[in-house]
Symmetry: D3
Subunit: 129 residues, 6 copies
């Protein structure tokens, strides 16, 4: 199975990505996700650059984006992503109360998505605009 690539064993191309992650996030080491992705340097580089672009401040602030990322990860049942994005959201300021409400919204959306599926609700004309 895939094994992590530590900085000491990484190629210059991989190290360049690691360095950028460490600088951008002000962390002493990259987390496991990147160490495993480093087995495919092209995907490592592309994914990091995409994440950096997508998660940067824009019309939405980075904190809101972290909350959305966590809600999607929980919906998909990705254990690693739920752990890592919970940590990221906490670091960005998510309190226990915020986490509780985020989970409540995520749970309700998953519930009502299925109620809409099951009742085969047609889209209201007003929502087609």
């Amino acid at each position: 199975m895939p094994t992590p690539i530590e900085y000491a064993d990484a190629s210059p191309q991989v190290r360049a990505v690691y360095d950028d992650i460490k600088t951008s996030r002000n962390v002493p080491d990259v987390n496991n996700f990147w160490k495993y992705l480093a087995n495919d340097p092209a995907t490592l580089k592309r994914t990091w650059e995409s994440i950096k672009e997508v998660m940067s401040p824009g019309a939405l602030d980075p904190f809101t984006k972290e909350l959305v990322y966590l809600a999607v990860s929980v919906t998909n049942g990705c254990g690693y992503c739920t752990a890592s994005h919970s940590a990221a959201a906490r670091k960005a300021g998510m309190t226990d109360a915020m986490f509780g409400e985020l989970m409540a919204v995520t749970g309700m959306a998953n519930e009502t998505n299925r109620l809409a599926n099951g009742y085969r609700v047609p889209v209201d004309p007003a929502f087609q605009k």
Copy 2:
């Protein structure tokens, strides 16, 4: 297949829920989701009361909650929910730029969730705390 229950044909119990939705949201009529759910008055009432509680202002503001709801609905591929929560988010202030970024984050989360699954990345000890 299920058919919608219009206000004029609704029981007093269903009308009471419709009235509360219309007042709470300041809309002249409820959208199709509720008209279909009204086939099961207990689920109509429970779902509305849960939504009202979960989506109200708290540690997270209602706008952030709408964005999360939309991201989950898009992840699950619920067509009705994507349409209705896009409309709700627009009404609550979501601009085109915000929508674009929300979709970008939702897409990236769905991508990296699978990369983490596929590489079988173990949770970092720092994320276990």
Copy 3:
């Protein structure tokens, strides 16, 4: 895109499956699912034989099995399957009240599945036995 194979245009192998479906279900014609699957006669035959075996009376009665089939289809957001298995369940005796409760359970399961994911709840030792 795939097109349906009507009985008149079907090969003897496909007709044999259609005949068995029509006899087993006491219907004048097979529904679209089978007409499309007939583009791959091996999958048509294997799927029908598997469905016939799995949905037959056993430790669980066929009606309970239909309800489960519908709940899974709604969870997955399969529009065709939700329509066809709603019809099958209705034919097998599902009332409006039963449908309402089935959707309520399906919705709650989808909600609490995400709450368990998000809170990263460890399995109780009692459930490991």
Copy 4:
């Protein structure tokens, strides 16, 4: 990460929910799901009350509801939920043979849902009624 709230450390509001769960289910302690949800007392209370209402006897018996809950949890790949609802279904009378058939139906539904998606099967007019 979230930690469980034991009865001894719980607020009166949380204890009231725990007491109701213990009485309703005739168990000496609540399972981990509730202890984690107790970090958000409003979600704990709302979720328990919803579950109690949804899983009570109605047009469908509680045993059938437990089977549906388990099938949905397995479909979503929720490990905790699969463990807890397997235990609940066993307690409610699910035999090995019933479990085997439930999994067979759940598996077939997941398979045919994708066959219908892939062949883009249009809904039969008879299923639109």
Copy 5:
């Protein structure tokens, strides 16, 4: 709701991406996916460049990649993606027989994924290496 951006109405940045898609694929116009994504030029550009990199010949040939893309789209129930990637795979050489087998494999994987979930099968030590 989002509307498509036609070439005539597109900004120079969007036109540059459209031109690259048209040249790379040798098509007279881009398909709807790109015309909608053009509402967010940054996502349009990033997504196209990622797709171009990921789908190019490498250790796996582009045809195999198209089959995988279609299988994932069918699994997720994305109607648009199933239609567009079916067309792309057909163009790249997918025959009716290949499509039938691809669907059969996709269906079986979705079935056995749930059987493994439901039986809570532990990973064999030989698969941990």
Copy 6:
């Protein structure tokens, strides 16, 4: 919870399936998936025969089918299946580079599936044919 059925403890019907798996795959023992499925001999037999038929050489070669199986398992987040089908694909010749590209395609498909959902992209007339 379910327990595995070892060869020594298996019924003649189960042993016959185990023997066929061992011969077909040239392995000294069956993996855990089959040992757990053996709790339901009918499902064991049906699933094995279906897998054997579906994964055999045809219009698509068995290696391509293994890659597709893995991509679907990763998309669904099935941990057991990801481990077992990674091992199977490796055994069939999947290199590190192939694995990396397979995950890249799987990730992109999951991302663009949601972009198409979120932008509610209508199917191009050319894809309806």
